[in-house]
């Protein structure tokens, strides 16, 4: 028996709607469990480390009665599960507590430090992709040539050299010897009090306000750490691009395109790269997410007041509120980037849209 066409269509629509709802629900469950897991692990690790959090707050010289009072005020004498419950309850209302170290609410701190990391990671990823993708394509096209070998060595060095070492060396060279770049930090103190950031992304803010001298100063501060991060993502991106491209270039449609008499550059840059772009987006997104996490070592060497440095400092001071807040932000970044790359996927590859 055949159903009337309209019924068939409606049924398909309903199925798709159900699919959407199911997807959204699954998605929600994943997000909630991810967050809870993140919170629980960080929270309990924070409580079992052999460091007295009250000591972190008061320092070594506080008298006994002050220590006891503080312990009570902060609820550290309550059972662990109760402390966790209170924390999650507060977190749900957007209250992540106060940082011991900076005395600010944790979220206010993160709003301040995250743009620094965002700016650095974005510039790093842009540099990494702009150079890494063409290098990877070059290596794939000229497979086995000297160019391929050079790209491989560049990638290998990027993979295997510790970043702090490279950072220190480049500081010695570009800052101390050549004086091309500025001193570690985000901005010169001369400008610190004449420049009011709006978004927290200094390059954009200074350009927006037309303060070109500030822009130049910020650029001189950011270029070296961003370049280094760019180099490290370049190493990864170029290798992945190479293998994706090799895969595409071996496909039959390439042969067909050649037979059709298309120019080689059109075949490589338009046809092959377009198809390699789909998995490449995931690679770039993941490396971007990795940088957004805050590259601890780079931020330390360059005194970059970003998320990585913030979380490290907090960890060293047993400032668990700040560490937990930072962890949640990182979790959110990962989830957001995953969603974003998923959406990009759909735009780039029509086949995923149909499914």
């Amino acid at each position: 028996m055949t159903l009337p066409e309209t019924t068939q269509l409606a049924g398909r629509r309903r199925a798709r709607a159900n699919g959407w709802a199911g997807n959204a629900l699954r998605f929600l469950v994943i997000i909630v469990t991810t967050y809870l897991g993140l919170l629980a692990v960080t929270f309990f690790i924070g409580r079992v480390i052999p460091i007295d959090p009250v000591l972190a707050i008061l320092g070594d010289r506080a008298p006994t009665h002050v220590v006891e009072r503080t312990r009570e005020l902060l609820g550290f004498n309550k059972p662990l599960y109760q402390q966790f419950y209170i924390y999650v309850r507060d977190a749900l209302t957007g209250n992540f507590g106060t940082s011991v170290l900076t005395t600010n609410p944790v979220m206010a701190d993160i709003r301040r430090v995250f743009p620094a990391t965002l700016e650095l990671a974005t510039l790093g990823t842009i540099i990494g992709s702009l150079i890494g993708v063409p290098l990877g394509v070059l290596a794939a096209v000229k497979r086995g040539s000297i160019a391929d070998q050079i790209v491989r060595v560049i990638g290998l060095v990027g993979y295997s050299v510790p970043i702090f070492w490279l950072a220190l060396l480049s500081l010695l060279l570009f800052y101390a010897r050549l004086k091309w770049v500025a001193f570690p930090g985000r901005i010169d103190i001369v400008y610190e009090y004449s420049f009011t950031p709006v978004t927290g992304l200094y390059l954009i803010d200074s350009a927006w306000q037309g303060q070109w001298d500030v822009f130049r100063d910020v650029f001189r501060h950011i270029i070296l750490p961003a370049g280094l991060l760019g180099y490290f993502s370049l190493a990864y991106i170029s290798r992945m691009t190479r293998s994706f491209m090799l895969n595409e270039l071996a496909q039959e449609y390439i042969v067909a395109a050649r037979a059709k008499g298309l120019s080689e550059s059109r075949i490589i840059w338009v046809h092959a790269l377009r198809n390699a772009a789909v998995p490449l987006v995931t690679v770039i997104a993941l490396s971007y997410a990795g940088l957004l996490e805050g590259s601890v070592l780079t931020e330390t060497v360059f005194a970059w007041p970003g998320l990585g440095l913030y979380i490290t400092n907090s960890l060293q001071n047993a400032d668990m509120n700040a560490v937990l807040g930072g962890t949640i932000v990182i979790g959110s970044v990962f989830i957001a980037i995953n969603i974003l790359s998923d959406l990009l996927y759909r735009t780039l590859d029509p086949r995923t849209r149909a499914r």
């Binding site: 480390i49 052999p50 460091i51 007295d52 000591l55 972190a56 707050i57 008061l58 320092g59 070594d60 010289r61 506080a62 008298p63 006994t64 009665h65 002050v66 009072r69 009570e72 005020l73 940082s99 011991v100 170290l101 900076t102 005395t103 600010n104 702009l130 150079i131 063409p134 070059l138 220190l168 500081l171 800052y175 101390a176 004086k179 091309w180 770049v181 500025a182 001193f183 570690p184 930090g185 103190i189 610190e192 009090y193 130049r216 650029f219 001189r220 270029i223 120019s263 080689e264 550059s265 490589i268 840059w269 330390t300 060497v301 005194a303 007041p305 913030y310 060293q316 001071n317 047993a318």
Partner: protein, 548 residues
Amino acid sequence: MMMHSLNKHARMLTAGAALSLLLMAGAPAFAETPADTLVEGWAIDDIITMDPGEAFELSTAEVTANTYSYLVRLDLNDTSKVVGDLAESWTVSDDGLTYTFKLKPGLKFASGNPVTAEDVAYSFERVVKLDKSPAFILTQFGLTGDNVTEKAKAADETTFVFTVDKAYAPSFVLNCLTATVGSVVDKKVVLEHVKAVTPSEEYKYDNDFGNEWLKTGYAGSGAFTMREWRANEVVVMERNDNYYGEKAPLARVIYRHMKESSGQRLALEAGDIDVARNLEPGDFDAVAKNGDLKTTSAPKGTLYYFSLNQKNQNLAKPEVAEAFKYLVDYDAIGSTLIKGIGEIHQTFLPKGVLGELDENPYKLDVAKAKELLAKAGLADGFSVTMDVRNTQPITGIAESIQQTLAQANIKMEIIPGDGKQTLTKYRARTHDIYIGQWGQDYFDPNSNAETFTVNPDNSDEGKVKTLAWRNAWDVPKEWTEQSKAALLEKDAAKRAEMYKDLQKKVLANSPFVIIFQQTEVAGYRGNLKGFKLGPSFDTNYVFNVSKE
């Protein structure tokens, strides 16, 4: 064709690189800080609050000393004495209980408000009622939340009267008032920023005395004002034009948080900072050899020591404790690990404090130590652990001690840890040997005498958790008595003698092996004038510094 397209990309890359160079070019080849600004590179990650009633950290002590005024300050020419700051003069009553301070006329806060005895009284009141970490420096004189408004009060506009509960040595009382906690805050300004609090069992008052605001705020009358503090980033101070004394030559002083010695050295050489404050021996040497730079140093009241937990049966034997004192290579440590940043010092009062004793009788003497160990029945040695924080020179010293102990068959295992981790263990009395530093709480001999010689209750529940308690050392009762008696000795010379005697006893017979006293060093640019480090952490003044 393909090459052509790659070239196109190469061209874009070259263009980008050229643009980058363009942006970087035109920068001065030699960076220099502004002529009216002093920039110090300094590890300021210990700062957790700027409220002088709460702060107990070394970096904060320095900032507060430059931005607030006290009743009295240490006399830089003779640190066993004090000089008036806000106070023009003071008298002590015959019974030794009442201190009357007369304020200088016409004093003003940075806000423009006049400085009155009311402000002094309020500053005392908030410290005592807030009862934060450093409050004991004032409450040890018998002040409580209930009596502070009576015991510390304004008799009139310029007369402040302070009543203590015992006839203490006046030097003790006055020395305590030079501590950060003695800073005088602007009552009017603070009152504008108090936050309402619901009284509870732990905290009986209905407001926070401006504590939350003062954590990052400022209400003082010092040579500089504190404009901004961002944790782990920067402290900015600006000249206070309402300051009663000579105005500071520099308009602005910036402390930039920099953790690494090598980074500070680079920045100092490049001229991005004027002063480097955390130079390690190697970098300090390099700075000293650089013709554009200068160095300075001053002994500070911080001692580095290791101590033996008396709960450990081997370590509890007096011969073992003495043997350890002979098993430290003081000469080698002094000439390498702490060269320039410390000097060998074996007694518990640092140089510069009233009653200091400059005696360093112990030398590395393995034979003597072996003899003592044999006497304790431990000729074959024993195994023991030491909790060591991961920082120089502590790690280096611990390794040196490990080697010298091995010569007497003592096998010492180093347990490395983060500073807070080793401290947590130390305070719980679960260590064998702890190595670390001890800084005075305030610039008076009692601070160290108390912690090294007072332990009224050696049980785990003991409330007075001095260093003696942390090492489970049951201090002889007479020593504790002597320490307390020195507190009441009016004659400063006699008081000094009592501390000297006490130090000799602790030196000869205690679980503390004191190794050296810290010397603070700094490297600075040659164009600075008047840059000096003071004898204590709260006397590193910058209001005399100028630039050529």
